[in-house]
Subunit: 218 residues, 2 copies
């Protein structure tokens, strides 16, 4: 809705850098810094100034020639582009350690989403409170979704459970997933948006890099 003028097929490489810009600019804004040039930002963030200008200009000309960018304005602009105040309704499935961590994360820090329901199938957990929300029985999923129409589901359940549940969620109209399981859900649905957080993959990558560095030493 906002400034869609220029936007057209933004590449994933650019999209993945946006939150980083937002993070840094927010930090500068809170520190009371007013103005910044792409060159200065480049030094702070480790991107080239050229890339920063290139990235920003996918969405519009936010700077002033000869002057640079106004931190607060640019920050808000990127916030809007990201949709930090969209408040998309979402549900979280799986209230284990990870689910609990994500739930508190979602309530306190994250923006752009509004957590409306938490589900688990452990009788010990059902009915208890987590960050101001009562944990519901997975059996209630269908009625709950019919009523509240969540847009996104956070999947903090094991692989096998996702294989079972994802079809149900899809059938209920959910097309967006934040997936923490090892299951590659994106292969299944052509019109779903899936953001994966594969912690194991991340850790293995680190392991490779450590091994690799060690083997390159004399």
């Amino acid at each position: 809705m906002i400034n869609m003028a220029k936007r057209e097929n933004i590449s994933m490489s650019v999209i993945r850098r946006l939150p980083r810009y937002y993070r840094f600019l927010n930090h500068l804004k809170n520190k009371g810094i007013n103005r910044i040039s792409s060159k200065e930002l480049s030094a702070k963030m480790g991107f080239t100034a050229s890339q920063i200008r290139q990235d920003l200009n996918c969405f519009g000309g936010f700077g002033q020639q000869g002057y640079g960018y106004i931190v607060e304005q640019l920050c808000d602009e990127i916030g809007n582009i990201l949709g930090v105040s969209n408040g998309y309704k979402c549900i979280l499935i799986g209230a284990g350690n990870l689910g609990q961590a994500i739930a508190s994360h979602l309530s306190f820090e994250a923006q752009g989403f509004h957590l409306t329901g938490i589900f688990d199938n452990d009788p010990k957990k059902i009915g208890t409170n987590l960050n101001g929300l009562v944990i519901r029985d997975t059996a209630e999923l269908e009625s709950f979704c019919k009523e509240t129409q969540p847009v996104m589901a956070v999947l903090c359940i094991p692989r096998a459970a996702v294989e079972r549940l994802s079809d149900q969620l899809y059938a209920m109209g959910i097309r967006n997933f934040w997936n923490f399981s090892h299951y590659d859900i994106a292969m299944k649905y052509h019109d779903a948006i899936v953001e994966n957080v594969h912690l194991n993959d991340s850790l293995m990558t680190l392991c490779y890099r450590i091994s690799d560095q060690n083997s390159q030493k004399p």
Copy 2:
């Protein structure tokens, strides 16, 4: 150590795909599948067959012409490349929700690392048990590291705490970090390997993609 013959400056794009290969091949192996061609794997994983062959050949010729790859052999080979049985000693700092989730994750699922210590500065947590390890006072960090020489540190603490602690960890010889904070630690040390998991960034990316798709609908 193993098959370093071909390996030379592997790109991050390739490295990030390795755990995914490992995951899929492991799954096939467990299902008792013996043989697979790059074409079949391509259909399952959503990479092109060409890319799969290209990737694997960074490390060696693991296949047989006219036949394909032996699943178990290829899986083990990639496991070795990743270093899944290296058992690098590591410590975890921050036993909040996320830290707890990661600790159980590390003990049960992840490979390549061995968690030897957990630290927090909350008196309520210190001394309690988490996944078979006692939570220690952050004040003991130095003596503990001198004694056990961990190679990697998992950072499950807030940004401000990382700013303070990272220098200490670096001074104690730790050069590898699995960083869950919003602080970009990699900018600080030229010789550190940092694997970031920025959950907020991931979530914001998802938010952007949802907004973007909605705005492109009629």
